[in-house]
């Protein structure tokens, strides 16, 4: 083994020790949802006729194609059941792999932990090599388990394997992207942002590519997420496509090692430039804004882009189905306009969950600042605990509201442009703002956890995922009504379909305030955790 790789084995063991909860949780989660989906698919579409009808409908709906992709074999139950998984869940898998790789490379480098280890017999390339090895192992296990889960759920074995290997190869490709990004920037946060931005771009490329008629255009073939769809598991099982993500790894991984060889420990691609010698930050509010605004800006741009795209797809909704049954359904729902509203409501509720995710990440700054030791210096001054905690929490609340406002306006603008109805902007904005209280409840839960059990800050993500899973699969799992009622999103009025949801909104706001007050009370009385 070359000297630059010395200590890789030790780092792999250390990494597995640190991820001993995280990785099994992720892997089991992915296996569980694939299994549930396989079961649900056969239950929902028992015969070929119903499958063909649903698949044709999905393929004819531009918004669905843009979001999830196409079904390449309308008779295939596997391709239909897993429509949300080839692109959307793959993107989530990619994000998790980015987090995993950055955490063990640039994250440890920035915190100085690698310097500590570097005093021992540790080669320059060992951190990157160990992170990629852990990620390879995780991807392979996750892919094979997902394949087994699909097969156990009653789907054909070959397709299940193609699907699982697709996940493994695509996950690994994005691990390689993260490994490269970790060499470029001096901060872990920036490296994560860069990688997730790359995921978003590849997702967008395949969305546009998939919309082209007929079938995918060259744009889909430029995107690793597009490749995963083009494997066409259960709809042809094109194994050769698996070579593309593997080839990407073979290019990116050596490139990352070359970049690493050319830089110092702790350095990015650019040398650190000097900044202002005197500061203009006038207090903790300024500081919170300074620490958080860049991330909020990135979210805002993503919300606007996403909003305009899904908003403009509204014109296709009415043409969704041409079968007599569907036309009856549309009439039953109150005509095409009502269907447009129903589509908008569905999209906007997704935006509500995404805004809540932003709220959690912003509120969790409280914990990361405390853990980094920054809070101790601030609380040593005349700043009170409440004031400091409010700075980040209020930024999170305001950010959630701003994002949903942007989502409403941009979805409305896209829709208004597409079907020439300017009134849609107002309706969709009101609808998006109606999601704010539910997202605030989730944000407040993050503050509550910070106040009482700061070590569990990461578990708030699990809570949010559980809410999403309950919303998605609650009925399928026969979850009790009271359990599903715990989700604030269930109580959000689905404007513009609903109207008169004010009592529910008021109740959600009160709930958010109560949880926040509880969080503040805990934070006031607990020790500062070093």
């Amino acid at each position: 083994m070359p000297e630059t790789l010395a200590g890789t084995g030790v780092l792999i063991r250390l990494g597995l020790r640190r991820d001993r909860w995280l990785l099994p949780f992720w892997i089991a989660g992915f296996a569980l949802v694939t299994y549930s989906t396989a079961l649900a698919g056969t239950e929902l579409y028992p015969d070929t006729a119903s499958r063909v009808e649903a698949a044709t409908a999905l393929n004819a709906t531009a918004s669905m194609v843009a979001l999830f992709g196409r079904i390449y074999d309308p008779t295939s139950i596997g391709a239909l059941s897993l429509i949300k998984y080839t692109a959307f869940m793959t993107a989530i898998l990619a994000v998790l792999m980015v987090i995993l790789v950055i955490r063990h490379t640039r994250g440890d480098e920035e915190s100085g932990r690698l310097e500590l280890l570097g005093g021992g017999r540790l080669g320059r390339d060992a951190p990157l090599a160990s992170a990629l090895t852990i990620s390879l192992g995780a991807n392979v296990v996750l892919g094979l388990l997902a394949a087994a889960a699909l097969a156990a759920g009653g789907l054909p074995a070959a397709g299940s394997l193609a699907f699982g290997l697709g996940w493994a190869a695509t996950g690994m490709a994005f691990s390689a992207v993260a490994g490269l990004a970790a060499q470029l920037t001096a901060s872990a946060r920036a490296a994560t942002g860069l990688s997730i931005g790359f995921i978003a771009v590849t997702y967008g490329l395949r969305a546009v590519g998939d919309l082209a008629e007929p079938g995918p255009s060259v744009l889909s073939w430029l995107s690793p997420i597009g490749w995963n769809q083009q494997i066409r598991a259960f709809a042809g099982d094109r194994w050769w496509v698996l070579a593309l993500p593997v080839a990407l790894c073979l290019v990116l991984v050596p490139a990352a090692f070359v970049l690493r060889a050319g830089r110092d420990l702790g350095a990015g691609l650019r040398a650190e430039r000097p900044g202002p010698a005197a500061g203009s930050l006038s207090g903790v509010w300024d500081l919170a804004v300074r620490l958080q605004y860049r991330v909020l800006l990135a979210w805002a741009m993503a919300f606007v882009l996403f909003g305009v795209v899904i908003g403009s797809l509204v014109s296709n909704v009415g043409e969704l189905l041409n079968s007599p049954n569907a036309q009856d359904l549309i009439r039953l729902l109150g005509g095409r306009e009502a269907l447009t509203d129903a589509f908008l409501a569905a999209e906007i509720s997704i935006m509500g969950v995404l805004a809540a995710a932003y709220g959690v990440s912003a509120a969790n700054h409280l914990r990361s600042e405390e853990a980094a030791g920054h809070t101790e210096a601030l609380l040593g001054t005349a700043t009170t605990r409440i004031r400091w905690a409010s700075s980040h929490f209020m930024f999170a609340l305001a950010g959630v509201a701003a994002l949903l406002l942007l989502a409403g306006v941009s979805i409305g603008a896209g829709a208004a442009f597409a079907i020439g109805d300017a009134a849609l902007v107002g309706r969709s904005t009101v609808a998006a703002l109606a999601q704010v209280p539910a997202a605030w409840v989730v944000t407040s839960v993050a503050l509550g956890v910070f106040g009482w059990a700061p070590r569990l800050a990461g578990a708030v993500w699990g809570f949010l995922l559980a809410l999403v899973a309950l919303g998605e699969f609650g009925v399928l799992w026969n979850a009790p009504e009271w359990l599903m009622d715990l989700s604030p999103f269930r109580h959000s009025p689905l404007l513009p379909v609903d109207s008169g949801g004010l009592p529910a909104l008021a109740a959600l706001t009160v709930a958010a305030a109560a949880v926040a007050a509880l969080g503040y009370a805990g934070w006031r009385r607990r020790d500062l955790a070093a």
Binding site: G275, A278, G279, L281, S282, R290, A372, T381, D527, A530
Partner: protein, 314 residues
């Protein structure tokens, strides 16, 4: 603080700690790693809450009167963590404003004194430079009380000297300074009084002169002949004889008879070293028994390796 108890889960970090600092003095707070120094300072700041006992700082309750109290004190944490993206100057100014204002001229003077470049990003600072950022931010304020947690642990000797000048200046202005340290010479050079903490209790407190009676003077003498029975004298320990040279550790009460015995046989040369705080430490921490009941680290072992140990001091 009187009778202060602080537990972290099943670990008792402070176990009935009594600690008094008079206004206007420089108080050295000595103890090995893990003995509870930082915990005590964090309690004084209201960052932690005590489980028992009472704490008053400048007449205020640090847990309840946080803002009022903190306007009057300045704190330098033992482990200075800065925001990697902000420059040193930005951090100093931010902390100063949160403190309720700092003196621009003092800030610039201290930046010069400590030779700190405030335009660099905190990510690029060394440990010593991060410490300087916190020190400049604290020293530039107009606080009555300065709580400094191991303030020189990352500074080079020149900077340490500059820091000592700053502390003397603060004392000259009538300000109170609490200085935690495991570096004995530092507390010795600066402090009016010291308190020694061990395993969550203050075991000694008082002016240095008063504490010195607890220790032994190290005596080395060249003599014409070695008088017999030196090691039998009361208060004389660790007698080592090589040719015509005698060295021993002698308690204050035993000095008279010991010197008398030496002079009676013909004394050529005598060197004696006054007791240092290291001796105090050895007496309190170097006793080899298990002192590891503090905040989770093996107190005894750390002190043993940190202090040049003299033989047979148990």
């Amino acid at each position: 603080m009187t009778g202060v108890v602080k537990r972290f889960g099943s670990v008792t970090a402070l176990d009935g700690l009594d600690f008094d600092v008079a206004a206007g003095e420089v108080h050295g707070f000595l103890g090995p790693n893990g003995s509870g120094k930082s915990t005590t300072l964090r309690l004084l700041l209201g960052l932690l809450r005590s489980d028992a006992g009472s704490i008053r700082v400048l007449g205020l309750d640090p847990w309840r009167d946080v803002a009022a109290l903190h306007r009057r004190l300045a704190y330098v944490p033992g482990d200075v963590a800065l925001w990697p993206n902000l420059t040193g100057g930005e951090v100093i100014d931010l902390l100063g404003r949160l403190q309720g204002g700092q003196d621009r001229a003092r800030r610039d003077r201290f930046l010069d004194l400590f030779e700190l470049d405030p335009s660099k990003k905190a990510r690029t600072y060394s440990k010593g430079n991060r410490q300087k950022v916190a020190l400049v931010a604290a020293l530039a304020t107009d606080a009555e009380l300065f709580l400094l947690d191991e303030p020189t642990s990352g500074l080079d000797p020149l900077m340490e000297d500059a820091f000592r000048g700053c502390v003397r200046e603060l004392r000259g202005q009538g300000r109170t300074v609490v200085l935690s340290s495991h570096i004995l010479s530092e507390a010795e050079a600066l402090s009016d009084r010291v308190s020694i903490i061990r395993a969550g209790k203050v075991v000694e407190t008082g002016p240095l002169e008063q504490l010195r009676h607890l220790t032994r003077t190290s005596v080395t003498a060249d003599v014409a002949a070695v008088p017999p029975g030196l090691d039998l004298l009361p208060g004389v320990h660790d007698v080592v004889v090589t040719d015509h040279r005698v060295s021993a550790q002698v308690e204050p009460a035993g000095l008279g008879p010991f010197l008398h015995a030496l002079t009676s046989v013909g004394l050529h040369a005598l060197t004696s070293q006054p007791p240092t705080l290291e001796d105090l430490f050895l007496r309190h921490y170097g006793s080899g028994n298990d002192a590891g009941t503090g905040a989770g680290t093996a107190v005894g072992a750390v002190a043993d390796s940190a202090v040049p140990r003299r033989s047979g001091d148990a």
